[in-house]
Symmetry: D2
Subunit: 242 residues, 4 copies
């Protein structure tokens, strides 16, 4: 089996602008995630960030990526439309996409789902989140217990403006009284898309063992499948007329 090629994309601004965030993620959120994924055989992991040329997502990188992980927040609007369109095309051709936390407001997530995915309730008071598993037989939940508990998180609350997920695998409970669809799987074109909610930059979420486990499971789940060949456009009839 060949290695799965993973690219972890990060906006990488908070870490450079905010000392507290930098203390949690000294090499950036992308490298925290990459560091974990590298502990497994079978993943080949690189990173890309907003301020690199082409946001680090050249054709060569994109064509060499099986699964793309996306974290953004402050600077969604700075992501170039032509690159968003290339990412979208790659997903429809089969590349997996994992969108984390505030990536819900990214252009790529909105363009693939069609709704105002940035719309939700929020509150960054550092409250408890309990992420309940809804589909216990789903590969993304492999190795978890009944729930994941995160002591301090930003709250996201419904209504989250997404199309009903093809598979809803996690629902979050928040101390302040809200709920959220925190694990949402979609199939679009030949590609698979997984939205996973946790991850505020001011908390050490990407050091939490269960959060990292879900991301690794998500990468495996979102990996491209060869599938069937596909043609389109004008075609001759397969049957003769009566």
């Amino acid at each position: 089996m060949t290695n799965l090629k993973v690219t972890v994309w990060n906006e990488y601004r908070h870490e450079k602008q905010n000392e507290h965030v930098a203390s949690i993620y000294p090499e950036g959120i992308h490298n925290a995630i990459r560091g974990y994924l590298k502990t497994f055989d079978g993943f080949e992991v690189r990173t890309a960030v907003l301020d690199e040329p082409e946001h680090g997502l050249s054709d060569e990188v994109l064509n060499g990526t099986d699964v793309l992980i996306w974290w953004g927040h402050l600077a969604h609007s700075e992501v170039r439309d032509d690159i968003v369109e290339k990412v979208r095309a790659r997903v429809l051709e089969g590349m997996g996409l994992i969108v984390l936390h505030s990536g819900n407001g990214s252009k790529i997530f909105e363009s693939l789902l069609g709704t105002k995915t940035g719309s939700l309730k929020w509150r960054d008071d550092g409250e408890k989140e309990r992420i309940w598993v809804i589909e216990h037989g789903h590969p993304i939940t492999d190795g978890l217990g009944d729930y994941i508990e995160i002591p301090k998180e930003e709250m996201y609350g419904e209504r989250f403006d997404i199309p009903a997920p093809d598979e809803l695998i996690f629902i979050s409970w928040f101390e302040g009284g809200e709920v959220f669809r925190s694990g949402c799987c979609y199939r679009r074109g030949k590609g698979k898309l997984f939205y996973f909610r946790p991850g505020h930059e001011t908390f050490p979420i990407y050091h939490h063992p269960d959060v990292l486990k879900v991301i690794a499971n998500g990468v495996r789940w979102a990996a491209p499948v060869q599938g069937a060949s596909l043609s389109s456009g004008r075609v001759a009839p397969l049957e003769l007329r009566n």
Copy 2:
């Protein structure tokens, strides 16, 4: 427009065995719901209970019912299999079915969904429930705010062993830390099925205005649609062979 014929079915045992329940529902849960539905034009509402002959669900009653509301808890096993099968057949032919609270463990709910629908977490400590609206454009949520709050309820927690709903319209938050898919819509055969979670017998849930509103909305949503005609069995080809 002709009236919608609604039958409210209740096991009707708690109310006769427990003074506290009787004080909340002196004429039974079925009559509390019937009393509310009767305040609207367009509903024609009768009741049926377990201890009547054929559980009050004769062929005549079932054939004259557009939407059946079901509340059961203690005595699921006493419901006759042949009557469950008749109810199931009527749903597949187009009768709406609204299953309330502990009706999740009923034979009719399990037979239509196929999973062990009685399986969930629970705790009857009388804690706060907040039922969040997930689909704001759905007719069953008509006239609600962002959520329904119930001061004291029995908790039901995930994982609830149901097939993923065709439409998930409510998710509950519980004070004790759990979440639950509390409003689940299904289409089975020509019929529509709505599961609505609130309703423990020891609390005055069926006097709560928003809970009652949802039940009335659910009845309207689940009403039969004439739809298309349907045939099955051996058929002659529609096309000549080449």
Copy 3:
């Protein structure tokens, strides 16, 4: 009950450029559909076409539209992006949208679904189509038989690059050997979206009684629902901290 306000949008180019099309639709496809819908009480129907200012879709028109019907083909690229964005916003707020036939390639359809909805197989040889009803209890199929037969149609064949529909209600059989998901229902934001396949401009499809019946049923199904009120953004906690 107030009237349902319907706007029928047509690109309206084929009818002006091609005598054969003009002979079938002397006043345009939009007026053929409008003429039918006007025969019912309860619909208030206007039309809008590409070459009008703002494509006939001013804010006033859009805000006064409950359900928008869309037919386009040659000139998808001429539709202004800002107007597409306004239509999309209105759908997410609750306006119904019915996309007909080659409208599958329109900007509005693609922007709401996120996939390359223009991708499919096709052949305009005028072959027989048989549209089978898949969900007989669905209101859009009201009054139909087991199938609709159209003697001469353009073929559209799978794979159609759409997200799996929330409800699949029609599948087409074509004489030349293909199949197609011809009736697809989606819920996006507070709005409902119905794609209905038949309708090539060189055949009198919008004079076919069953096709027209489905369009009228679709308008009723897609009508806005008041639903629940909705808030988003930063919110205070509903619960006190422990």
Copy 4:
């Protein structure tokens, strides 16, 4: 990786009663499928038939089965209810189930789906079937082209009385004018269920390379996933009261 344990269950009556069927499947349909699956590393395949004690499905066999393949037709009613219930429980615990062709009318299929799954149109005239791939990125379609063509088959036509599949991956075209949802994936409890239509006993369907490929892909797809641990029943609150 440990081997996947597959049990191929066959009613095994046609082959013993009909010379023509016996000439196509001299050792039974079960052994035709087993013979193919055995050509792969990673599958450990046994068979079970109706007329064995406990229909060959003892607790030991069921508990040692990862994926069960089911073919039945004449004798659905002879399958013991207690064994159906055991199979259903195993599926909900995670065992994969692949139901072939006329298995649509089996007790196990109906009990897991809840609708009258035996209801469809049919005609056994030996006509052409073309099975179109609808989801090209799905692992069950791996290695296929745009469609599978079968020169002579029994026709099954819609409306097929099933719940809308969680994933619809194949749609069939029939020479006589019908269509059918031929590849339907469901998730029930922790288990996965795949219905695959082709397979009439009087034609050599289970010698067709693409049909066999789909069955092998289906077995891999339906394999159990460890997933998350699960608890149910009365639970103590996770949060202290305010």
